[in-house]
């Protein structure tokens, strides 16, 4: 798909460029997190930034998730624009009090006085056999919370563009990044571009069925769609991107077009993002549906270590293909 208007880049490099640009453009912005500096970032996202911007702008912090997220909130209240990195989503639980009881709540409980223009970046998802305390997809926790803007970085375009957009938000943004994708190459526009963090995005058009997804699901759905296209099935892929507030309009509009939908996510099934999407569709587009809605989600198990079980614990392209064929009654192949 590469042409002169796009260029190839890894997901990691896209994230890094976004940081580099942010640090260059605004003195109020700084990055803080465990091992973001001297180590180069647990997953090498911030490698080289310390050297270029110095330790005031790229701050290594002690193991104190609640403390440094709280400090990020405080400095945001005072007019700075911190980017706080939480290495792995499991550790974010240590900072949940700060994220929810403070970051998401201060504006409200101060009657609109206290803004918290903070970006919290969190590495999540499976893919490296890191087992039951390092591999989760906890988008649903964040997406439940009023006051937060929750973004899921499911493509290279968003890896490159979402940070800048988030840093413009007066309200706290949680940006979920996917460790699994770091080394993956993808295309992004060659010219500078901005992304709109209020909208979902159709990543592929189709008329037979909608795949609604986000995060690690996006490329899996696109792959499935590609393969189904060869069988004459036209799948529309909607990347939710913004998990809170959800872009309901885009959801209802793809369903009104295809009349069938599967929601795909790596997160545990019960009380997940897919639940919410199904709920909205069944409330508001009930009469548009030609088939029951369907979810393909993570297995409800803390992630196991062995690769074959890890793979089995989230939906794969193959599973998506099977599910679509079944819904469309396309058993012939």
């Amino acid at each position: 798909m590469a042409d002169e208007n796009t260029h190839k880049i890894t997901y990691r490099e896209a994230l890094k460029q976004a940081h580099w640009e942010a640090l260059r453009d605004d003195d109020r912005i700084f990055l803080m997190g465990e091992d973001v500096g001297r180590y180069g970032g647990a997953f090498a996202v911030s490698k080289g930034l310390l050297k270029e911007f110095g330790p005031e702008r790229v701050m290594d912090v002690p193991l104190s998730e609640s403390g440094f997220v709280g400090a990020g909130i405080g400095s945001a209240m005072a007019g700075m624009k911190p980017i706080v990195e939480i290495m792995t989503v499991n550790f974010s639980l240590l900072a949940m009090d700060q994220i929810i009881n403070n970051a998401a709540t201060l504006l409200h409980m101060s009657g609109g006085q206290v803004n918290v223009p903070l970006v919290i970046r969190i590495g999540c998802g499976i893919g490296r056999q890191l087992a039951a305390q390092h591999s989760h997809s906890w988008e649903p926790f964040f997406a439940h919370v009023p006051g937060l803007i929750v973004l899921s970085v499911g493509t290279h375009e968003d890896a490159r563009g979402m940070l800048a957009a988030s840093l413009k938000s007066p309200d706290p943004v949680v940006m979920l990044e996917y460790t699994f994708m770091l080394n993956r190459e993808g295309e992004i526009p060659a010219d500078p571009f901005t992304v709109d963090i209020s909208k979902a995005k159709v990543r592929r058009e189709g008329r037979d069925i909608s795949l609604i997804t986000y995060g690690n699901g996006v490329y899996k759905c696109l792959e499935a769609a590609e393969r189904l296209f060869e069988l004459g099935i036209e799948v529309e892929v909607l990347d939710l991107r913004v998990l809170r507030p959800l872009d309901e309009e885009s959801i209802l509009s793809t369903v009104s077009k295809t009349h069938r939908a599967i929601v795909v996510e790596d997160a545990w099934k019960s009380v997940g993002i897919a639940s919410e999407v199904l709920a909205r569709i069944s409330e508001k587009a009930f009469f548009e549906l030609d088939a029951p809605l369907y979810r393909l989600c993570g297995a409800e198990v803390p992630i196991p270590y062995p690769k074959h079980l890890e793979d089995a614990s989230v939906p794969q392209s193959e599973d998506i293909i099977v599910a679509i064929k079944k819904i469309l009654g396309h058993d012939s192949v």
């Binding site: 104190s64 403390g67 709280g70 209240m77 700075m80 911190p82 409980m109 101060s110 009657g111 006085q113």
Partner: protein
């Protein structure tokens, strides 16, 4: 009446009377709040500071207007001392839009960002790290202001205390941690909360200079706070001040006070910071009966005004429920 013109400033006693009157304002304001609570004008939790007034007054008088303040849910005194209008505080406790947090917060969440008054936090320990962040921002912005964070001795058991102290010392930021040790965390006495009860010794674990002071003595608190602020302004480093004090009233209006003796409370009441300081001023002839009565009358007027401001305030429209969740 004798006067000693050579000791002008102190003999005039203005400063001293101001300290006394601030403590009295807090006391009377809260007594009125308790009354309004009984009348169900104020609801939710209401945590009174009565008995502890010397701490807020002694510490906050040492701060400049640019210095940031963060408090717990027991923060009426601090808000008054920072200069928030008693009317907007009362209105907040009524839940009226004229309140300092537009009525959304109530007693536990008083905010006034223009006055650098950052709440009113009701998660115990949750504001310590925010204070470090505000101080970090001051350092990054090369401002010269201090961030002052009040919290109880109960809070010092939370992991947040440990992390905040360490981060502040590590990052060398200008923050004053003020532990208001009133010996109880709700109904749990200090000895059931901390294995090591000389709280000021905890500073050493972070290399933070620490001092304990008699929190019932306004002059002692004042002096300790001034020394602390001087240290912080000169060094840019954190400081830990423990004020040993006592709350005379229940933890909140829901508390039956089963966990302590009436006698213990009576003993502590002998150390009443207001009565005792009034005595000192009388002894030093820095206050006359007329002056005292004037202060009382003024305070009464101010509080009556606050109540009627709150009474006349308005309720937010239910349709606006969704406001203040995201910026407009």
């Amino acid at each position: 009446m004798k006067r000693n013109p050579s000791r002008k400033k102190s003999s005039s006693g203005e400063e001293e009377r101001a300290l006394l009157s601030k403590m009295m304002l807090i006391r009377k304001f809260e007594e009125k709040a308790a009354e309004q609570y009984t009348k169900e004008k104020i609801r939710g939790f209401l945590h009174l500071y009565i008995g502890e007034e010397a701490v807020a007054v002694g510490v906050i008088q040492a701060l400049s207007e640019e210095d940031n303040i963060l408090c717990t849910y027991r923060e009426h005194g601090h808000a008054l001392m920072r200069g928030l209008n008693p009317g907007v505080i009362m209105a907040e406790m009524y839940g009226k839009v004229e309140g300092c947090s537009k009525g959304r917060g109530g007693s536990m969440h008083l905010f006034d960002v223009d006055k650098h008054f950052f709440g009113g936090s009701a998660i115990v320990g949750g504001h310590l790290a925010m204070a470090v962040g505000l101080a970090l921002a001051s350092k990054k912005q090369k401002k010269n202001n201090v961030t002052c964070c009040f919290f109880g001795e109960g809070a010092a058991a939370e992991g947040e205390f440990h992390e905040a102290m360490n981060l502040a010392a590590l990052w060398k930021v200008p923050v004053l941690f003020v532990c208001e040790n009133n010996l109880y965390a709700m109904g749990t006495a200090l000895k059931y909360t901390h294995a090591m009860q000389d709280l000021e010794k905890k500073g050493a674990a972070y290399g933070i200079p620490s001092v304990a002071v008699d929190g019932m003595d306004i002059i002692a608190v004042k002096k300790a706070a001034e020394e602390a602020i001087n240290y912080i302004k000169e060094s840019g480093m954190p400081y830990f001040l423990v004020c040993n004090t006592y709350r005379f009233r229940a933890h909140s209006m829901f508390d039956a006070e089963l966990y302590r003796d009436k006698k213990e409370v009576e003993e502590w009441k002998k150390k009443d910071p207001i009565i005792n300081y009034h005595q000192v001023l009388k002894r030093k002839r820095l206050i006359t009966k007329v002056q005292y009565d004037q202060i009382e009358a003024q305070i009464k007027e101010e509080i009556d005004k606050a109540v009627s401001f709150a009474e006349k305030g308005s309720w937010e429209a239910v349709e606006d429920l969704g406001k203040f969740v995201y910026s407009e």
